[in-house]
Structure formats: structure tokens, C-alpha cells
């Protein structure tokens, strides 16, 4: 199926080398946003071009790739990216988390715990967590350099004063390795604790913003909070309507236009396994 027209994994070797250097630097400085020369990809910006470039740079012929979008393997974005790598790299693909060596994800961390030989690649729209408060790139860089992260709490303060709790539910800022403030991409804050001390290598690629950052295996990731408003996880009143899981992140699905709805696992692979186990 792989056409002869493409270099392995689409990008040329020099570009992959450039991206790998950026990744190495990112791993060496956990949480630091490394600039890289992001390329045009054959898909629009916002469709995961950053993640795709990182995946392309990491991919070998022996890898098994899994792609998820909001936890699901069968959504448009996931299917397109998976097809893209099958076509350009002819790698094996899977929907099973434990079988994959590289998992590219948009907006979720899989429910199945990751292992040491796995790489999780996140697609990132806005890598700069301080952007909300400070529009100047020169200033945010300085703030990172000087660890001036106090203002990050301003955002949480605003949440509490407005909603009575920290209402930020996704892209919840955290401190990596007690040093760099980072944006975990728009994953739900439900997933934040999974990033902490994860055995897998986590890579973040932002195509439009041309930034790569990383959390090496077994690195501390601490979500921001206040002493009197500690970080909390969302809970659901009912378990997953399909598999009955009480521990997984649930999506709300509208079933008709009469107000009918159900809550089901967002991680389709995990949900299926749970059903089989039952």
C-alpha cells in the first residue's frame, strides 16, 4: 500500500533529524518549550500537524501505531492520521493501548496504564500556558526563565471568584519537574494525575506555534491549586452506560432530540475491553 513516492513517514530525513534534536532537547529540559521548524503537512493546521511531525520523527518500521481523538480510535481525525502513516510508513496499527508503541492523541490520556516502552504524542493547539495573561512572547519567555509563575494562579483565582471553584476543566496548568509551567494540551484535568510519574515518554507537538516539549518517564507533574482549594477530580453520578466502569472519563452522548442522553467511556478501546471482560 505504501507508495514509492513518499520518504518513510512522509518527512525527509533532515527534517526528522531536526525534529529529533528538538525532542532530545525537550526531554533534557522537561516542560521547556523547544522551538522547531515545523513543516507544512498535507493536512490543515489544527488537525494535529505538530503531533504528526513528532510521530513521524519517532516512528520506525517496527513500531505499532495507535491514534486516538478524544479517546476514540474511530473518529475522523484519528482515522485520517492513522491512514496517513499506513500510507507513508506502512507501519502496523492497533486500537489496543497495550499493543501500541507510539500513541498519538488528541485531548485524552488513555485509561489503560502506559508502560515504559511506549511513547504518547500529544497534539497541542496553544503550548504557552501563560498566554492567557501575557500576550507578549518576549515576556512569557522571560517569565519562564525567571520562574515567575505567580500570575498563573490569577487564572485559578478568577475561576474561584466567579464559579466558587477552580472551573478550569481542561488544559489545566501544571508544573513539570518543579521547574517549568506547562500546558498539558486540552486534555481533561481528569487526566492530569496520569501524567505524573508516568512510565511512558510523553511528547507534545504544536505545529502552528512551532513548539515541542516533553515529559520524560517518571517525571513529577504537579497540577496547580490553592491551599484552601486543592486540585480535585471530576466525578459522575452514574457509571459508563455501556461497560459500567466507574473509574473512566465519561462523554455525554445525546441519544435523541427529546433530551435523552447517556454517559459512556470516552476511551473506546478501554470500554470495549471492559465489556468483553464482563
Amino acid at each position: 500500500m505504501s507508495g514509492p513516492h513518499y520518504n518513510f513517514a512522509y518527512l525527509n530525513e533532515q527534517t526528522k533529524r531536526m525534529i529529533r534534536r528538538a525532542i532530545l532537547k525537550a526531554v533534557a529540559i522537561p516542560g521547556y518549550q523547544v522551538p522547531f521548524a515545523a513543516r507544512e503537512m498535507p493536512m490543515p493546521l489544527g488537525w494535529g500537524t505538530g503531533g504528526v511531525q513528532v510521530t513521524a520523527a519517532c516512528l520506525t518500521a517496527e513500531d505499532t501505531l495507535k491514534v486516538i481523538d478524544q479517546g476514540a480510535d474511530d473518529t475522523t481525525n484519528a482515522v485520517s492520521i492513522r491512514k496517513f502513516f499506513v500510507k507513508t510508513a506502512n507501519v502496523a496499527t492497533t486500537e489496543q493501548t497495550e499493543e501500541a508503541t507510539i500513541i498519538q492523541t488528541r485531548h485524552r490520556f488513555p485509561e489503560t496504564p502506559l508502560k515504559e516502552n511506549q511513547i504518547l504524542v500529544y497534539q497541542v493547539p496553544i503550548p504557552e500556558p501563560l498566554r492567557f495573561l501575557e500576550p507578549r512572547e518576549t515576556e512569557t519567555r522571560k517569565m519562564h526563565a525567571l520562574e515567575e509563575y505567580g500570575v498563573m494562579h490569577v487564572k485559578l483565582y478568577e475561576d474561584i471568584s466567579r464559579f466558587g471553584e477552580i472551573a478550569t476543566a481542561y488544559a489545566y496548568p501544571a508544573l513539570v519537574n518543579d521547574r517549568y509551567m506547562f500546558d498539558p494540551s486540552p486534555i481533561p484535568k481528569f487526566d492530569n494525575p496520569k501524567l505524573d510519574q508516568s512510565p511512558a515518554l510523553q511528547l507534545f507537538g504544536a505545529g502552528r506555534e512551532k513548539r515541542i516539549y516533553a515529559i520524560p518517564p517518571y517525571t513529577k507533574v504537579k497540577s496547580l491549586d490553592f491551599e484552601d482549594y486543592p486540585f480535585t477530580l471530576p466525578t459522575w453520578e452514574k457509571p459508563c452506560a455501556i461497560c459500567g466502569s466507574k473509574t473512566s472519563y465519561l462523554d455525554e452522548i445525546l441519544t435523541d432530540d427529546q433530551g435523552g442522553r447517556m454517559f459512556v467511556c470516552s476511551d473506546t478501546d478501554y470500554c470495549r475491553k471492559n465489556q468483553v471482560a464482563k
Partner: protein, 256 residues
Amino acid sequence: MNGLLTVDNITKNYGSRVGCHPASFELWPGEVLAIVGESGSGKTTLLKCISGQMDPTSGSVRYTKRDGEQILFQNLSEAERRFLMRTDWGFVHQDARDGLRMGVSAGANVGERLMAVGDRHYGHIRKSAADWLRQVEIDVERIDDSPWSFSGGMRQRLQIARNLVTAPRIIFMDEPTGGLDVSVQARLLDLMRGLVRNLGLAAVIVTHDLAVARLLSTRMMVMQAGSVIETGLTDQILEDPQAPYTQLLVSSVLQV
């Protein structure tokens, strides 16, 4: 014994144009120094050069810390400078929009400096913010409102509260009453006067308004064309000005 702030031969050139000729002075705790002069006389340049907002071309600024140690501002690392500027020093901009974070609420504006120095207790931050709003006479009900919904005078007072929350020892003000109408000005001046006295702050205030200088300051520096031409006690400068330009300045304002 050293003054709180010792300014030694500060100059600033903008290319070949001189913004400020060598200026030196010492500021002591509890003193309010007014720098007066007409627009373009270099007073804002001088203020920015001594307050870390702008790098001077030459000269030095020394600051005596709470423990009595005198430090040379120019020798501090950028991290130390910025820390000093958001703890022991405060800066009130002429345009409140430069000094406030307009995108967040009034309470967050006041609380920001606390969070920046490590306060991680929401209840405490919130209480301090409310206390300071009260002190600058902003209705505490407005704590969650955006500064966009505030009048000019309120924004200026909010800016002052935002600066004072970390109990600074020096506050720099650039035309703090500029652009406010007269009655609002008077209220702001009263407030600043009270705060300066009750908190034992030292202040450097740039103004072109001699009435503002008279009400707030103990000492005055008169600038013309980038040079300091006269310094002295405020009442002495206003009642017995020596330099021709100061005499012109004093005689051209209505009785203050």
C-alpha cells in the same frame, strides 16, 4: 546612614538626543519627592530610569534593603530586579491600563502581587484584596468586576491598591492624577496623602501640576530641558523660587 534610595548621576540619551542630564538625589523613608516641570522636560525619563522601568545611559541607583544592606540596582540580576519591583517597590502609571491587568477582575489585580510572591491561599488573597479595595475607597461589591467597568479615578485607585498590597517601601508615580477631572483628582490626592503618611512610604511623584506637588510632597525637584535646575522643600520652591524658569513656572499657575 544611607537613604532609602540614592540616585547618582543618572543620565539618559535617546540616540544623540539627551533625555536627562546627570541627576542625583537621595530619598529617605517617609519623604515624598515631587519632580515637576513641563511636558518634555525629562521628568518621566528620570522616573523610569530610577525605578527600573528603563535602563539609564549612565549613573547608578542604590537601594537600602529592609535589613539595612545597600545594593546597587544595576548589579542585580534581572530576577532580583523584578522581584524587588513587585515587592519593595511600586509603580503607578499615568494610564491605569498600563499598570493594570485589564483582562482580569479587580480582586485578581490586587491579589496578583501576593500570588507572585508565593501566597497560595485563596481565602487570604481574597481578604487582602477586599481590604485594599476598601482602603482605596472602592466598593468591595465591585471586587469581581472588570477594570473596564471602572471610571478613570477608580482605575487609578485600583492601580494604587495593586501596588500597595505587598507593603512596598517606595512608590513611584507618573502623573497619577493626569487625565482625571478635578473633583476626582482631589479625592485621589487625599487618599494618596493619607496612605503615604499612614504607611510611612517614600514616594517619587512626577507631575506637571504644582497643586498636586504642593499637596503631596515634602520636597521638590524642578526640571527643564532634561536638567534638574532647582531642588528644595516644597514650600520653599513655591514661595521663594530661585531659578528664572521656576519663577516663571510658579507665577504662571493660579494660586495654589
